[in-house]
Amino acid sequence: METIHLKKQIEPELTIGKWFKNVYDAVRTTAIGMGITFKYVWGREVVTIEYPEVREELPSNSRSRLYNDAENCISCLQCAVSCPVDCIYIAAVKRPTDAPKIKTKDGTPIRLDLKQYTIDTALCMYCGLCTTVCPTECLTHTTDYEYASYTLASMKYDYLAPDIRAWRTRIVKS
């Protein structure tokens, strides 16, 4: 058996005068507070955005769903290398020498044929490092933020698939 000593909270002694002063102070300070909050009853505009009815437009450089414009991609793998969580999967083969020469929008020659460009959005943490290293600026963050889905498999975006390429008209910033 041992004795444990707990320290008692120091509190000033309560006299009758102090008790009445406490009551007076409580009423007075609460009234001041009520005065402050009472001003909010009228004449304040509503700040709450009621989401499904009112949709907020995100700022233009907001980092949301990724989109890769596969036609301008030169398969340089810089995005995949810079990704901290390794969620970008790229496969490319060398373009045959007799094939017609193609270029991206900004004039960079494409020397590799892109066979697979998949981003696992479920792994992605939207840090934006992949988009800043992209030399042709084909990989961009869009402002689209409503893309919840039921399965993990559907979060893997294959940017060569026609249904995902069809987003381009809808979400890509010019």
């Binding site: 004795t3 444990i4 707990l6 320290k7 909270q9 909050t37 700040v47 450089n61 934006g128 490092l129």
Partner: protein
Amino acid sequence: MSTHHEPEDKIMLGDQEILKSDLLTLNMGPQHPATHGVLRVEIKTDSEIVVDAIPHLGYLHRCFEKHAENLDYRGIIPFVDRMDYLAAMSMEWGYALTMEKMLGTEVPKRAEYIRVLVAELQRIASHLVYFGTYGIDMGAFTTFLYCFQDREEILRLFEELSGARMLYNYIWIGGVWNDINDDQLTRVKNFVDRFEPELLKYHSLVGQNKIFIERTAHVGVLSKEQCLDFGATGPILRGSGVEWDLRKNRPYGMYEKIDFDVVVGKGEKGTVGDCWDRYYVRIFEMFESIKIIRQVLDGIEEGPVMGKVPKIIKVPAGEIYMRTECPRGELGYHLISDGGKTPYRLKVKSSCFTHVSMLPIIAPGQMVADLVASIGSIDIVLGEVDR
């Protein structure tokens, strides 16, 4: 401090014996609203009096330090954000400073000013979260709504600046990612002008309220010596009356040129170092932040925002310890490099961890409701505690 009590132990509160029955073990958390995240506190109580409180950590452990050893130096920044998610800008700044000192990079003047600006705005946003949630802990719900309304304005600005609302990845090694434009600077100015009188109003709504004072004054007292023994920093240390602020005492960035005061708790409503003093320090730090922001807005220069940094960062072999003043206290990075592309070791000294470890000395002898007040007033973010 003994953590194991036998049923026949004699427990004295002051000079009175209090043990009337067996000790009751209570679990507070991990899903308790008053623990601000996933902190579990194992409390031993005798009726309402807390005899012992043991914090249990690890619910938000993400292995940051080990993970950082496998990431390149740029790729660490997004993970640094996730430590103290309420003050991500300050976390990034600390890391960027560590790297710049190691690499010897010059940071452009404009980038330095922007860093101070965003860090101080972040400090305001972080203290507003503290203020709002502390109000809820003490039973005042209104401030929570007011604070989040003002915080929203800061987050909106950060979203336009960096692209994200909480995890910015904005301050990079060598500068900042994006330039701030004049329109945004005007908005900061308007916000600061509008916010200053509002904050005084909130202070008289909550801080001067007698009920709030009764709940916080004389509660959770941490003496100067206890704080220094445990290595507490930030508002906790200043609340206990120690004038120590890294921005003033060991200036980094632009702080040398900026004039501001260090707010210290004086025991105005109770004892020095009680919950009310810590509240007071945080509120008046926001006013100091406003002062700093005004000076930044006056002094900001034109120019580039990104210094010269090699494309593939290789840090020369060696080690460095760099610390910065974050809203919750000192944040230190200890980086050891062996000359490769990834750090050999990156140790983070977080202030919240120290502050959580002070719970067992605050708690004994308190009521359970006062323990809520004490946990709220040390303002922990579990992301930084566990890392």
